[in-house]
Every structure is written in structure tokens, then in C-alpha cells.
């Protein structure tokens, strides 16, 4: 049992937790009756996805945050000319820094997830607005009561 944990769970613990959180969120979105609880479940689902992406970008214990400090990085002896790098090269001869990419965390998942969080809160706001309108219409936040009211209204006026 201990060996199983050490071999199969400990190195992948972030990924296990991402699956667990995602399933908690999915279960809440399907099975919870209250609309706000459903939205909290949806947010948990979203953070689980972000957890997966950020976990992919981690690079070992020695890795730093993805902010390159030009004053601590080593400079190469060669001077970069304009012809070497095409039009992106430094004019007038700048120094070239040797940045070792393995020392820094992977920035790409961070960028993708940063915008996802802000868009997530905007969509949460829209969802909460819809919830408020439903409450105004039906006077309740419980899904089964709303469905029962819709059914009653349908059976009361079958023509419409």
C-alpha cells in the first residue's frame, strides 16, 4: 500500500487532485439542486482545469518564477549585430544574454490561464445575473421547484 502510494500517487499528486476537484465540480453541476451551488461547482471545475495547466509548467525544485533578471544573467561575449537576427536584432550592438530556460518555470500555461481566470469571473457574473432573473420570475433558487412551476404553467395553458 505504501509502495503503491510512493510509486503511483506521490509523483502525480497534483494530477490526482486535479481529477478529484474536477469530479467534485462536475458532480455539483449535475446533482446539486440549488443554482448558486451549481455555479460554485462550475467555478471549482474551472480552477481544476487551471490547476492541471499550471502543474504542467512546473520545472523542478530549482526553477524560478518566469521573470528574467538581466542583471544576474550571464552575458555572452559575442555582440549581436543587426544582420544576425534580422530586423529584430539590436541596432548599435546590444549584449546577448544567455538565459537557461530550464531554470525558469514554463510561462506559456501561465499566460493561457491568466486570461481564463478573468474571463471566468466575467462569465460567473453573467450566470449570477441569470440566477437573479430566475429568482425574480419564480421566487426560488431550487431547480426542482422551478421545473415544477414550469410544468404547472404548461399544463394550465396547453395551447401556448
Amino acid at each position: 500500500m505504501l509502495e503503491f502510494i510512493q510509486d503511483n500517487i506521490q509523483p502525480y499528486f497534483n494530477y490526482w487532485v486535479y481529477v478529484i476537484l474536477m469530479m467534485i465540480g462536475l458532480w455539483a453541476t449535475i446533482a446539486k439542486n440549488n443554482l448558486i451551488k451549481k455555479l460554485i461547482g462550475m467555478s471549482i471545475f474551472q480552477t481544476a482545469i487551471i490547476l492541471f495547466y499550471v502543474s504542467v509548467g512546473v520545472k523542478g525544485e530549482g526553477s524560478k518564477i518566469p521573470i528574467v533578471n538581466p542583471y544576474t544573467e550571464a552575458k555572452s561575449a559575442e555582440v549581436v549585430g543587426a544582420d544576425q537576427h534580422g530586423e529584430h536584432g539590436a541596432k548599435g550592438g546590444g549584449e546577448k544574454y544567455i538565459v537557461e530556460p530550464d531554470n525558469y518555470a514554463n510561462p506559456l500555461p501561465h499566460v493561457l490561464m491568466l486570461t481564463a481566470i478573468v474571463v471566468g469571473v466575467a462569465t460567473l457574473g453573467v450566470a449570477l445575473a441569470v440566477v437573479q432573473m430566475l429568482f425574480k420570475e419564480f421566487g426560488t433558487l431550487e431547480e426542482d421547484e422551478i421545473l415544477a412551476q414550469i410544468k404547472n404553467a404548461d399544463s394550465a395553458s396547453p395551447d401556448v
Binding site: P107, H110, A129
Partner: protein
């Protein structure tokens, strides 16, 4: 419903957990996501794009924070339309929730509890005074986060949210009315549009200099006294883009709060 959910969740979860074992270990610097795809023999097929971002960004843009550089420059289209999504969410809230008129024909959904505010209630005074001191500091910090996003963690999204939160704090501590006196509905919807216009306008400005949309290197003609005109043009354009993002996010965060807390009437908040 609960049983269906339980079956679906168990099935999906066990399948995903089964797949977890095939991932590279957590924190492996040599994983395909960090170093690019590899053959089974260990031969490298190609480099991962994130390695190029890390090695080249400082030379090409003079921006130390790689995340900001990738966000505002390399992936400029993506960020622009994310901002448009935020703006569209604000418009959607406006369309869903906003009601006009004095609202006297619709009865209040909840009885207003007057007993929370009594004469000589000092807690209100304490909260109001504290917020009066705190809000300028929060706004100053938000401006710092926006302007310093190149060099430290931060940027338009974070600074915009902090700036919006300062107005939300004002609305909570006093009432929505005094927050709206500072930042009326007309103003925040205009500001949201102006933010996107700044972003898209910078992109279009590049096209006037015969480069692609959002290729900020075209703006090097404005960098007269700089040693590295192209790099500095990209660096400053990123600042402009972040300011545009911050405008939109500030306005939309406050708009969402104002509409949600007052049921779309923009009269009395929490």
C-alpha cells in the same frame, strides 16, 4: 439525478485517473511540455515554444516579465479578444438585469432592514473613515500594478480588477449611490469601450506603418532618442495595451457589481 451524476462522475474520474499514470512526473524539467516532443529513443524532435519565449523575450522586447510579454505581444490577438469577452459579459449583464424607471411598480423582493442603521451607529463611521483612507492607497497600488507589470508580477488584468475593487469597496462601505456619483453608469460604459478602442487602435496604428496588425515593432518611428527603437517600441506598446485592458476590466468589474447588488436598478446596493 444523483445516481446518474454519481455514475457519470465515477466513470469519468476513473478513466482520467487511469490516464494520469502516463503523464510525466510532476515538476519534471524534461517533460514534453517544457522541452518539446521527443521520440521513444530520446531524440528531440523540436524545441518547445516556451523555451524560445524564455531565451528571446528580453533581447527582443526588453521586458523582463516573460508572462506579460507573451500575453501582450506574442499572443496579442488572444488577449484582445479575451478583453472583448469581458466587455461582452458587461453588456450581457446590462441586457439581462438592467431595469429603467423608478422601480416603484415592482415591489421590493426583500424587506429593507432598517434596524441595521440606528442613530449614533458608530460602526458606520469607523468603516467609512477607514475606507476613505484606504481607497486612495488601493487605487495607487492598482496604478503601480498596471504600470509596473513589465518588471514584476502584474499587468492590466490584475490592476484593473484591483481598481474596480476599490470602487466596489466604496459602494459597500457607504452606499452604491456615492460610488455612482464618482463613477456613473455613462462613465463606466464609455471607459469600457475606450479600453478596447485603445487596444485595437494600437493594432491598427501598426498597420499604417506597413506591418501586421498588433506588430508593435512598427512603432519604432516614435522612439527617437532610444538606442533600441524596435525593442522599446514593443515595450511601450505593451504598456499601452495593458492600460487599455485595465480600463475595460475596471469598468466591467464595477458594472457587474453595481447591477448584481442593486437588481439592475442602480439605486441601493448591499
Amino acid at each position: 439525478m444523483k445516481w446518474i451524476a454519481l455514475i457519470a462522475v465515477t466513470l469519468t474520474g476513473s478513466l482520467l485517473l487511469f490516464g494520469v499514470g502516463d503523464f510525466p512526473e510532476w515538476g519534471d524539467p524534461h517533460s514534453p511540455a517544457n522541452q518539446g516532443p521527443k521520440l521513444k529513443s530520446g531524440e528531440q524532435v523540436s524545441k518547445a515554444v516556451s523555451q524560445d519565449f524564455l531565451t528571446e523575450t528580453y533581447e527582443v522586447t526588453k521586458v523582463p516579465n516573460v508572462v506579460t510579454a507573451v500575453l501582450a505581444d506574442y499572443r496579442g490577438y488572444d488577449t484582445m479578444f479575451e478583453t472583448v469577452v469581458v466587455f461582452a459579459a458587461g453588456l450581457a449583464i446590462f441586457a439581462i438585469l438592467r431595469v429603467f424607471g423608478d422601480g416603484s411598480d415592482t415591489p421590493p423582493m426583500r424587506a429593507v432592514e432598517d434596524d441595521t442603521f440606528v442613530e449614533g451607529d458608530h460602526s458606520r463611521i469607523i468603516i467609512g473613515t477607514t475606507c476613505k483612507l484606504l481607497i486612495p492607497i488601493i487605487q495607487l497600488f492598482a496604478l503601480y500594478v498596471i504600470a509596473h507589470g513589465h518588471y514584476s508580477p502584474g499587468g492590466g488584468f490584475q490592476g484593473g480588477v484591483i481598481m474596480g475593487a476599490s470602487f466596489i469597496l466604496l459602494a459597500i462601505a457607504r452606499d452604491l449611490k456615492s460610488a455612482l456619483d464618482w463613477f456613473s453608469e455613462k462613465n463606466f460604459m464609455t471607459l469600457a469601450s475606450v479600453g478596447i478602442l485603445i487596444y485595437a487602435g494600437l493594432g491598427v496604428l501598426c498597420q499604417f506603418f506597413e506591418r501586421n496588425f498588433l506588430d508593435y515593432g512598427a512603432l519604432k518611428v516614435f522612439m527617437i532618442s532610444s538606442d533600441h527603437p524596435e525593442q522599446m517600441a514593443r515595450s511601450y506598446s505593451m504598456l499601452g495595451v495593458e492600460i487599455g485592458v485595465a480600463f475595460t476590466v475596471t469598468a466591467i468589474m464595477f458594472a457587474i457589481y453595481a447591477n448584481l447588488s442593486s437588481r439592475g436598478e442602480l439605486k441601493e446596493g448591499l
